[in-house]
């Protein structure tokens, strides 16, 4: 049987020692999970190694840790795959999730971060009026749609890797906003506008996400939190016309128009466009404010005045036009949802989709 080295980040708060790495050898088949490896260590070598775990089958959300630097569930990560991806001479590096304080070894304080943020989005249904005598009659598609958010197991992997949260710890974050979509997308909820208004106006709300895709990569259940955040934005801005004080919606619209006009993002125009154009009273202070950034960019040669002002237009502009026409020509907005569209990485399905 193959042997694997588990390099575990230890932190024993009572010992007085600083966090440190400890290597453990385990013999197990390669298709066994990292969790099984850790449990073997706990059972046979050192019972003090701390990790939350319960179901072993990726449904309870207890055992999210960072393996070789990436957040994942220890229970559905195979030892052989983890060892292949090792950046540390074959050792499987296991450490606690990020963005949350560590309590002991691989156990983090989810109450202090994750659950506090969940509670921030008023995470219960707020129906209008008394319930009907029987069930609420709602479209099948809506229920399947929000099932993607309901599939969240609250493991915290997305929170661990959220870049926005690293910069702004107050950011409501991917898991809680995916939870918010579960209500905004639920036709039975009576407070869609209030919820969206709240999340759009909050400086740490839906417009605080920088689309880094980390949460989509991190999620073991295909919840795609960032996609849910983008949908919250579209519904807030386009459907409810919420013009937020963070200028988030106007920025989104300016971005799209900028690309439609130029074929390629013209960054020098983006900021003024977001505030209503170069000469708009709102834009002037913003432009003045951003001058130091511009100067720094110029000095470090990140941009040249020529490139910034004479924006090169994209050559195959027609192709881009067709894209815009296709997307905007649709009667209904198309939302991607795994439960509706099938498997994300199925080439056969993708091919079928591509056929007219």
């Amino acid at each position: 049987m193959p042997a694997y080295t588990l390099k575990i980040r230890r932190y024993l708060p009572e010992s007085g020692d600083a966090p440190h790495w400890q290597d453990f050898e385990v013999e197990l088949d390669g298709h066994r999970s990292v969790l099984e490896g850790i449990l073997k260590v706990k059972g046979e070598q050192d019972g003090s190694v701390g990790i939350r775990c319960s179901c072993r089958a990726a449904i309870c959300g207890s055992c999210a840790v960072r393996i070789n630097g990436k957040p994942m569930l220890a229970c559905n990560t195979h030892l052989e795959h983890a060892a292949e991806r090792s950046a540390d001479d074959g050792a499987i590096v296991v450490e606690p999730m990020g963005n949350m304080p560590v309590i002991k070894d691989l156990i983090v304080d989810m109450d202090a971060v994750h659950w506090k943020k969940i509670e921030r989005v008023t995470p219960w249904l707020l129906p209008e009026g008394d319930p009907p005598e029987r069930e609420y009659v709602v479209p099948h598609e809506n229920m399947v749609d929000i099932t993607q958010s309901m599939a969240c197991i609250q493991c915290g992997a997305c929170v661990s890797d959220c870049l926005s949260m690293e910069v702004d710890p107050l950011f409501i974050g991917p898991a809680a906003l995916a939870k918010a979509y579960r209500f905004v997308g639920d036709p039975r909820d009576g407070q869609h506008y209030e919820r969206l208004k709240d999340l759009a106006e909050d400086p740490h709300g839906i417009y605080d996400c920088t689309h880094c895709f980390n949460c989509i990569d991190a999620c073991p259940k295909g919840v795609a939190p960032m996609s849910q955040i983008m949908r919250l934005r579209r519904i807030a801005g386009s459907d409810h016309g919420i013009d937020d004080r963070n200028n988030g919606h106007r920025h989104v619209m300016a971005f799209v128009e900028n690309i439609e006009r130029n074929g390629l993002l013209h960054e020098a125009d983006l900021l003024p466009d977001s505030y209503g154009g170069k000469f708009h009273p709102r834009a002037v202070p913003e432009l003045v404010d951003s001058l130091p950034v511009v100067v720094r960019g110029l000095m470090r040669r990140k941009v040249t005045p020529r490139k910034a002002l004479l924006h090169p237009h994209r050559k195959d502009y027609k192709g881009l036009r067709r894209l815009f026409e296709k997307v905007e020509g649709r009667e209904e907005r198309v939302e991607l949802n795994l439960y509706i569209s099938g498997h994300e990485d199925d080439p056969a399905e993708a091919e079928k989709e591509a056929q007219p």
Partner: protein
């Protein structure tokens, strides 16, 4: 010292439902769990929840299916209550926000399930338990002013006054190691099953029979403990669950010769016969050499439309991929029967009251008994919710009619701390590791107390369990710390599992017939004359437990021959 009208131990579906019901009834409530509530094992109930909600369906039909499924060991008064109240409970949950599947008209849609004469299983894809659990937790967050949550607190013992009333519990805060005595007018045990006494099992690592053993240790009798459900479709290698929903959607079972063998065991219901029937059929096929080399049989889900699988069985697509390396939409997956559920538990009446005043139980740790000898698929979620609610309501009623028990709990708290200290002080020279004893227990139970049983095997099994109980007293732990000392908790859990295992074996030895999940190769017939009764197992100091009987409550269904 914290005190509450109603203290609930366990925060799965039964516990959370009880908490909400008790709070609605005006009681002050605490809910305590050794894990965060959404980690509870209710998550694993994938397929759905039964209710006769369609106008064409009737609760009587649901009740009869349940009675027949139980092999007539279920108490019919309790089954009637569960089935009559089911539709209203489903609607209540729907109103709270559960994202139940809809049909094309936007109304609640159903799927077929085993042992049922109508498609009456309501579901959320194949994450029904998870969806219910998370929606109830949404409500708990909403109820934060009336329900105190003690998350990651491990209950070590139930407390009793000198008159025998249960008046609280001692628990350890896992995060800092502090123990605390909780005073309560009523305590509801809702801490789940004991599947970890078996290896393999579909059950989560937390299912160690804590509440069953705690109640047993203060004198509550356990009932139907011999009835252990083996689920027909668990992965060959590791025992992970493939939901019955797969067969409900049309998947079929084949042996290695390609025969759809259920045709000869249950010609009418085929794969959707009761679980005990299908598991026995599978085990027979395997024992007679018609299984694959890996010891399994084939479950063919490719017969179900691919789009439907991706929409409604998405979770098992993941399980197949991650834990068996199989794309279930393209090839059959190998399965075998695996330990899944215990029908037995703490004996209760239909309001959740145990034989100990002030102590209630609901969910898998309880035995009302609605499942009797064999639980129907999608009846467990229903059981947790109906009897969780009833226990919560009744406990609140009791609490509101009495004053908070006084009496000094400090001495008990000191005893408990001394016990925990003594476990941590055990010497490595004197004993085995907890994990070694646990593995031996699991393998022994799975060998002798499984689908087919006989007197010799059960007697051997009992001997092993007795020995392991002694060894468990000396099992040592590495961790001497206070913060998240999971090692210490593991040693306590081992003791709980051993108590549960002994009760199961003693019950199985006692029942000299075959009924439901108990199949005795030495007594292959059902014997209604002698054994149409519940077996109760009660603690008897450190000796072998005592056995007594309770008659089965009959209302309208006389026992008949059971075929599917």
């Amino acid at each position: 010292m914290p005190s509450h009208d109603v203290l609930i131990i366990g925060a799965g579906l039964a516990g959370q439902r009880a908490a909400l019901a008790a709070a609605d009834a005006g009681a002050t409530v605490a809910i305590m769990s050794k894990v965060h509530p959404v980690r509870s094992h209710s998550n694993a109930a994938a397929g759905g929840i039964n209710a006769a909600l369609n106008p064409e369906d009737t609760w009587e039909s649901h009740a009869f299916d349940t009675v027949k499924g139980s092999d007539y060991l279920g108490d019919q008064d309790a089954i009637e209550i569960m089935c009559r109240e089911a539709p209203e409970e489903i609607l209540h949950l729907e109103h709270l926000g559960v994202t139940f599947h809809r049909d094309d008209t936007g109304h609640l849609g159903t799927r077929a399930f085993g042992g049922a004469s109508a498609a009456r299983t309501y579901y959320v894809a194949d994450i029904t338990g998870q969806a219910l659990l998370h929606v109830l937790y949404e409500q708990l967050m909403k109820y934060h002013e009336t329900v105190d949550r003690y998350e990651e607190w491990f209950t070590t013992s139930l407390l009793q006054d000198e008159d025998g009333n249960c008046n609280g519990a001692v628990a350890r805060n896992i995060r800092d190691g502090r123990t605390e005595a909780f005073r309560a007018k009523a305590v509801i045990q809702a801490s789940g099953g004991a599947g970890q006494a078996f290896k393999p099992t579909t059950n989560a690592l937390i299912c160690t029979g804590d509440g069953i053993a705690q109640a047993y240790r203060i004198g509550a009798p356990l009932m139907d403990m011999e009835m252990v459900q083996y689920h027909p479709t668990t992965l060959v290698e590791n025992g992970f669950l493939i939901t019955e929903g797969a067969r409900g959607e049309g998947a079929q079972l084949f042996n290695k010769d390609g025969d759809r063998f259920m045709e000869s065991y249950a010609p009418n219901k085929l794969e959707l016969a009761s679980r005990d029937v299908v598991s026995r059929a599978e085990q027979t096929e395997i024992n007679e050499g018609r299984g694959y080399e890996d010891g399994g049989l084939a479950l063919d889900i490719t017969l179900v439309d691919r789009k439907r699988v991706l929409e409604a069985l998405r979770e098992i697509v993941n399980i197949g991929r991650d834990f068996a390396g199989v794309d279930i939409t393209r090839e059959p997956i190998h399965i075998r029967p695996g330990q899944h559920y215990i029908m037995g538990g703490i004996k209760t009446d239909v309001t959740g009251q145990t034989d100990i005043p002030g102590l209630y139980a609901a969910g898998e740790c309880a035995c009302v008994s609605v499942h009797g000898g064999n639980r129907l698929g999608a009846n467990s979620l229903l059981d947790t919710l109906i009897f969780g609610r009833r226990a919560g309501e009744h406990a609140a009623g009791r609490a509101l009619a009495m004053s908070m028990p006084d009496g000094d709990l400090d001495a008990r708290l000191a005893d408990e701390n001394a016990w925990l200290e003594s476990i941590m002080a055990r010497d490595a020279q004197g004993g085995r590791r907890v994990s070694a004893i646990k593995d031996e227990l699991g393998e022994t139970m799975n060998r002798y107390c499984a689908v087919f049983r006989d007197a010799d095997g059960l007697r051997q099994c009992h001997e092993v369990v007795r020995r392991l109980k002694e060894e468990g007293e000396r099992a040592y732990v590495d961790d001497r710390g206070t913060v998240f000392n999971q090692d210490l908790l593991g040693a306590i859990e081992l003791g709980y599992m051993l108590d549960c295992a002994e009760a199961m074996v003693v019950g199985a030895i006692e029942r000299k017939e075959s009924r439901g999940a108990q199949y005795r190769t030495d007594f292959p017939q059902r014997n209604d004359d002698e054994w149409l009764k519940h077996i109760n197992v009660s603690r008897n100091g450190d000796d072998v437990p005592e056995v007594s009987y309770t008659p089965v409550t009959m209302t309208q269904w006389e026992p008949e021959e059971r075929t599917y």
